[in-house]
Symmetry: C2
Subunit: 424 residues, 2 copies
């Protein structure tokens, strides 16, 4: 199906056929959901041995009684786990509670209210703002929006954020004080940042406001589907460029063990950790060390964590294949959409023809298939071209996903044809 | 020992004797700690069945798979547990993470950054401030101090904060926007607020700024030592006075199960919960529901929780008796200090003669007994009369506590005599 070259009568015929198909599907009264990147029950089951793993022994290897108060840095063995995931020294890691999102929120709060490492608190600026590679992760954008921090779109390329754009923006505006990055299997495009991108990001601090910070949300650090994809080290790159204070790295076990019941990690320079801790000390006596100990025992060696992630990959791979097969079959030879083939992570990002995404999401919803709201992957929920849709294949069982994708491709076709007819 | 009526030569003789005793004790090279309200290992052991209690069944009674994301209010059964502890309807309760302190921090943040229920955010005021009943809990004061919220001392009486003072302050200053309360077994004085105090607190909102909030930290709601002490319901009192929006209640299981690895609760009106959730939604996808389920199973009935608390009381009672016996023996017939006899909670609060507390803490430290820093129970760490010392009997084994208290009473005597000699 090539829309740009189709005549009006051809488009009208397609519209009629597709509408009829759509009407038949609506009669099935489906109730399917491919909105959020939630692990499936099969994946969650992989970690069910966590509860009970302590076997009455609540003492960590270093002698800490995890049942009592204290230790704002987190348990030493949990910090080691975070260090393995992020590939950094454990002295630079704090192990926290159940959510890296919460850690990122508090990190933004630290910059906003108090400033990092002696720099001006962002709230004292006229118009502090973050660079937001788009499409990106809606929950990053919500943090900025809540605190009134402005957001400036930077287009994603297949190598990461468009660094020409990012550098020009930072050079022009000294009130740009951060950038959101999901550097490996980017949410939602699935892209892993190239060495050049990482190096150029590490140099941003040389031209930016001294309070500028890269929020490196490495949510999918170990979430490869088949072959391991190597993300160049941002830590090494900043050390080489004398900009180590410009980056804060985050990870968690939420898509490793039980979602929302795991351990989150932050890694940063000594100066940044001191700033974070200063804020945290008024807020908490320390994280849940018992749960940290459970995770440390469950993954006593990094090889055990790697083997565990392969089991996840085995469950996820057929789901990604299902989505990609449907997209290839429907749109491989068409001008109806574009997508990446991610090698890990949790999403497939689909770009419709301009001005069609909201219509696709609406059609699918009316047919009983819930998609992430169009625009959600952009700051303020505004996709300037109304093109991006994030597909999350992980949660539903394979048959349901396949049905949902059949509805999805039909809705894309129908919305695209209607849009073209309108514009003729 | 009566210092006020002692002659100089008598004081000099005492000083000599006490100094000699002190020197002997210093030679023992003690290393004891009665600083913080931490449960002892015996107490923690009471909850060791928590890990493994799920027995592979991670599904809550309402069907929720606790292993996956979602549910910002917390699990229904966990909210019921919080409702039992705080004696409020479960619809008014959110169950959260491992720390009620963290919840209080976020609640203050909500008021400060965004305002509760449509009221002016506190940060937009000239000089927002909290009333702080003193002596009080240092971690409450740290939250205000970090955010630059002023603090005004209100003396504690044996019935709670001096309400004449509190009312006059609120009437005079419309930028008083909160008060910290530990209403049952107050930290550190052990006082439980009277019905009159609770009623008058519930009426403060009638004369205060509409954004005024009572932070009701009911940390020791079920922590009675022997007979149950009834705290009048602040919820009922505010409902009667049409001020239900003026109070936020907090509790946790930190001194019930494992400290820092439990579940925290907040209870408030619908309007306040909506404000809290608005802030939280940018910060978290939801709390650790697996741990909430563990707690709900461990305390399947409120009677089980009550029986559990009696076991805590059995461990704590001899420790409180030890402290009170030592104080009674040393100071029962003296003018060297005052204290309450708490019927629950975690502390004994001791007031020295004016100007002696810091000296006592220093003497004890030099003799190897760590006490909470003098002044810690006051905003900004400043006890205007240098009198209050908080004793935390729970953590050390009984023999160690007894030794620590022997050192303590000796240090009080020595510091008091020396102070009096100086002033003659």
């Amino acid at each position: 199906m090539h829309i740009d070259s189709a005549r009006r009568d051809q488009l009208q015929e397609w519209e009629k056929e597709l509408s009829a198909q759509y009407q038949r599907i609506c009669q099935h009264e489906l109730n399917l959901d491919i909105t959020r990147g939630k692990p499936s029950a099969d994946q969650l089951h992989l970690s069910d041995k966590l509860d009970g793993i302590l076997n009455g022994d609540y003492r960590a290897a270093d002698g800490t009684d995890t049942r009592n108060y204290g230790g704002i840095d987190g348990l030493a063995c949990a910090r080691n786990l975070g260090a393995d995931i992020l590939q950094v020294p454990s002295e630079e890691v704090m192990a926290g509670g159940n959510s890296s999102l919460t850690m990122m929120y508090h990190a933004v709060l630290t910059g906003y209210l108090f400033g990092f490492a002696g720099n001006t608190p962002w709230r004292e600026m006229q118009a502090p703002k973050f660079l937001c590679p788009v499409p990106g992760y809606d929950r990053h954008f919500s943090i900025c929006e809540q605190l009134g921090i402005g957001m400036v779109n930077v287009p994603m390329t297949e190598h990461g954020p468009d660094m020409d754009v990012a550098e020009a923006l930072v050079r022009d505006d000294q009130e740009i004080i951060g950038i959101w990055c999901v550097p490996k299997f980017s949410n939602p495009t699935g892209v892993t940042y190239s060495k050049e991108t990482v190096d150029r990001l590490a140099c941003l601090a040389q031209i930016a406001n001294p309070g500028f910070r890269i929020f490196w949300d490495n949510a999918y650090a170990i979430h490869d589907l088949e072959h391991q994809v190597n993300l160049p080290s941002i830590r090494s790159a900043t050390l080489e460029n004398d900009t180590a204070d410009s980056v804060l790295q985050f990870a968690s076990t939420s898509k490793v063990t039980h979602a929302g019941a795991g351990v989150a990690f932050v890694s940063a320079s000594a100066a940044n950790l001191a700033s974070l801790k200063k804020q945290m000390q008024a807020m908490t006596i320390g994280p849940d060390k018992v749960n940290q100990l459970r995770h440390s025992r469950f993954f006593a060696e990094f090889t055990m964590l790697k083997a565990h992630m392969q089991k996840h990959a085995q469950i996820l791979k057929p789901k990604f294949e299902c989505v990609l097969n449907q997209l290839n079959q429907a749109f491989g030879d068409s001008d109806l959409g574009e997508w990446e083939e991610p090698r890990g992570g949790y999403f497939v990002s689909f770009s419709t023809r301009p001005g069609c995404a909201a219509a696709v999401v609406k059609l699918a919803a009316d047919a009983g298939v819930k998609l992430t709201p169009a625009g959600a992957t952009f700051p303020y929920g505004k996709d300037p071209e109304d093109r991006n849709i994030r597909i999350a294949p992980s949660f539903p069982p394979l048959e349901e996903l396949d049905t949902a994708m059949s509805v999805f491709v039909l809705c894309v076709k129908l919305a695209s044809v209607r849009k073209q007819l309108e514009s003729l």
